[in-house]
Symmetry: C2
Subunit: 227 residues, 2 copies
């Protein structure tokens, strides 16, 4: 595909060379980037700080467009000090729900989801049985703590298990966007659906790279424009 | 839509009138029709008898085409005396898997499935906790029996929970067929997907009706053929 530079070979030589800037890459963000302490560290020590840093960086980027489903946005607002977040947020971070009734997903995913769940449900029962059997040796409260942790691990981890998760996946699908999340279940499903995704700990690096590229492009433009 | 009888108004009066018989209605069958004792009663007292009755009736029907996914067919074979089933079965009951990698399902179904599961998973945990708490009063084996029953009820009933279930739904979708099953979870999903379905206890009546209609149509045909 040797098309590099083809855009400069216009038939009409009288017009100035035009840089065909590609449309901005769309990026769908999950709350986990700001809330999960393992992931947000390089953005800030609290969710509010992390979101502020993001807004500061994102304001300098013209080559990306940031999106979040309203359901996820609401989640985020639970974690931040709302008065400290500037109104920029609403301009920089677009809130858009996916077109739930228009989008379709490949049917083979149903098989994968249901087989996965079947195994998890069986595992959940085994965990519950084990808990009942251990009741002779330990106190009920202690057993129940342990049961809850193990049960949730078996039935929830690494799986999409909420409508917010589905919102993120479908929005990324609809917009042909890059999905950035720290949720392993979401990343697994992004893989299945052919959705671009990024290691969440690379989020800040990605933003820095986008700032650099934005500057580079905006420096080039005035040079080549016919004053 | 006043099109009745339009097929007889051909421009070319020299040719004999032709009955435009519609293509056969496709019907997808679930094992439950032959295996579930509440449903199969009017077909036979054992799965083998029910299947034999079905084959006897189906052989007289030309206006329906019967299908079963191979996964469901295999299930069925576990329940019947294989040597008593005539080879007709293979001719009358077509085994066809759905096109898993071509079919698509509406994305909003993912939401419904996942929300439903989320509630069930929570309910499962509450059942398990209750079982642990009751361990002081009852024997572990007694509790576990009870736990299993309640847990399965909460997590399995009224839901599609196996790849065989998905096979049935997708095959019915692909063939634009009528789905006949005694499984409430499947019927619920057939409703969501716009798949035709029939009350399973009407299965025999449906077959009898189809025999009557087949006879009616085959009696008409010779009458109208230009001998």
């Amino acid at each position: 595909m040797n098309n590099e530079g083809k855009e400069h070979e216009g038939d009409d030589d009288s017009s100035p060379p035009v840089i065909l800037s590609s449309p901005p890459q769309r990026v769908v963000l999950d709350t986990s980037l700001f809330v999960n302490p393992d992931v947000r560290t390089n953005l800030g020590s609290t969710p509010t700080e992390a979101l502020e840093t993001f807004l500061f960086l994102a304001a300098q980027i013209h080559i990306l467009e940031f999106y979040m489903p309203p359901s996820i946005f609401e989640e985020l607002l639970h974690f931040v000090e709302k008065d400290r977040i500037p109104g920029d947020l609403l301009v920089i971070l677009h809130q858009k729900p996916p077109k739930r009734h228009e989008l379709k997903v490949p049917a083979f995913l149903l098989y994968e989801l249901i087989e996965d769940l079947r195994e998890r449900v069986n595992k959940g029962l085994r965990i519950a049985e084990k808990a009942v059997r251990s009741a002779e040796k330990k106190k009920p409260e202690e057993i129940i703590q342990d049961l809850r942790r193990k049960y949730r691990e078996a039935l929830r981890e690494g799986i999409i298990d909420s409508k917010e998760d589905v919102d993120l996946l479908l929005l990324a699908m609809e917009l042909d966007a890059l999905l950035i999340s720290a949720d392993q279940g979401l990343i697994l499903w992004a893989e299945k659906l052919g959705i671009q995704w990024l290691f969440p700990d690379k989020f800040k690096d990605y933003l820095m790279g986008a700032i650099k590229r934005t500057k580079l492009l905006s420096e080039k433009e005035p040079d080549q424009s016919p004053l």
